[in-house]
Symmetry: C2
Subunit: 226 residues, 2 copies
């Protein structure tokens, strides 16, 4: 028999806010199978578009989001992973700043929503497994590439970066040592602005990351340990 396999792309999109922690973007499915269940955004690749184009398109259609940090994660192809047909899914890993976007649902999705990675709902298909791979990648990546900056607002107090790392690594970090290491990368620019605190406490200086230096480091596959 002729090969009868479909090709899909799915995107695991991570975001971070200090209130909600590290979150992943999920959509509520509007069609069978797994109707009304939460799933990773994605869909079938069109005949004439590249895989990357397909992810960006599906992501935009289903959630309204565009992302500048997108890398391939893994391809899943177990025969029965989709009950309808055989579907190979090429999955992607994306990082965004949630505050940059207003989530919007679409025809295929009733709803699109951020979920803290520690409080995930039951997921459609093998998406639980995909998320596990993605979360593992995120946790490992943050220790050797300064991707934290993709997740933070343009200007942020140093404590935000520290909170992000603490959350992801799931352990406390020594503030002084952490700051020394990050500053040594020379990727941060300290601004003459202070953070606006909601409550008591000394306001911290705001930082911005230097784009050129940051992209240079990423290209060189920079290695740093936290």
């Amino acid at each position: 028999m002729e090969q009868d396999i479909k090709v899909a792309v799915d995107a695991v999109v991570f975001g971070y806010t200090s209130e909600t922690g590290v979150s992943v973007l999920l959509i509520k499915r509007n069609i069978e199978p797994y109707k009304n269940m939460w799933a990773i955004p994605g869909g079938l690749v069109k005949n004439d578009e590249s895989l990357e184009e397909a992810v960006q398109r599906e992501l935009h259609e289903e959630t309204g989001i565009n992302t500048s940090y997108l890398e391939q994660l893994y391809s899943f192809g177990t025969p029965k992973r989709d009950p309808r047909n055989r579907v190979i899914s090429v999955t992607y890993f994306a990082l965004v700043k949630p505050s940059d976007f207003q989530l919007k649902a679409s025809t295929d999705a009733i709803d699109a929503q951020w979920f803290n990675i520690k409080e995930l709902p039951t997921l459609a298909f093998d998406h639980k497994q995909i998320l596990e791979v993605a979360i593992k990648r995120l946790k490992s990546k943050i220790t050797y590439e300064p991707i934290g900056f993709e997740l933070l607002d343009e200007k942020f107090p140093f404590s935000e970066l520290e909170k992000l790392y603490t959350t992801l690594l799931d352990r406390p970090i020594d503030r002084r040592n952490f700051k020394k290491k990050i500053l040594k990368l020379n990727v941060l620019e300290e601004l003459n602005e202070k953070q606006k605190l909601k409550s008591a406490g000394r306001p911290g200086n705001l930082f911005r990351f230097k784009k050129e230096r940051y992209f240079l480091l990423r290209e060189q596959g920079i290695v740093f340990d936290i």
Copy 2:
């Protein structure tokens, strides 16, 4: 129009011998397109087999090789990468000991042969690009996982391991420091046998790697720097 995309798997198989250095296994295509050109072994996935099963099957059919070290590398899906149809290729990365196998060609391949990674022939499709990704992965992986052992014979003199690393890293290594680092991993067992040299020189002790310890390290995603 309905989706019309085929799914293939391809395997980049690396081997090492001290005579030929780090080599990759290629097949000479027996069919159009790119007939008589060298290519990475692979082929279309069958409807009811997993991706891993497909790679192992194709690899065995085309070259006679079985591999115990196999991991997914990357998926390539540019629309025009195959001139016939749209084909998504899920590529894999394999390590073998060339001495374990007698290469044999098959119907789809006139010939199967090892090529030093520095002396590659012109390749079919986008296989040059695939190989570049694979070689990059190999070079980086060898610095943080002790995969070198997958490439060496069961018993080997320490100098073989050193040669392998020197070749892959493309720089000289301090023998004493290298030995200290490797031995600290506690993954090697020193045997009471000496190497048989072809020419002059003091014969070295043979080593064997401790399987349990080695697999434990791999599971833990061990990090070591050369």
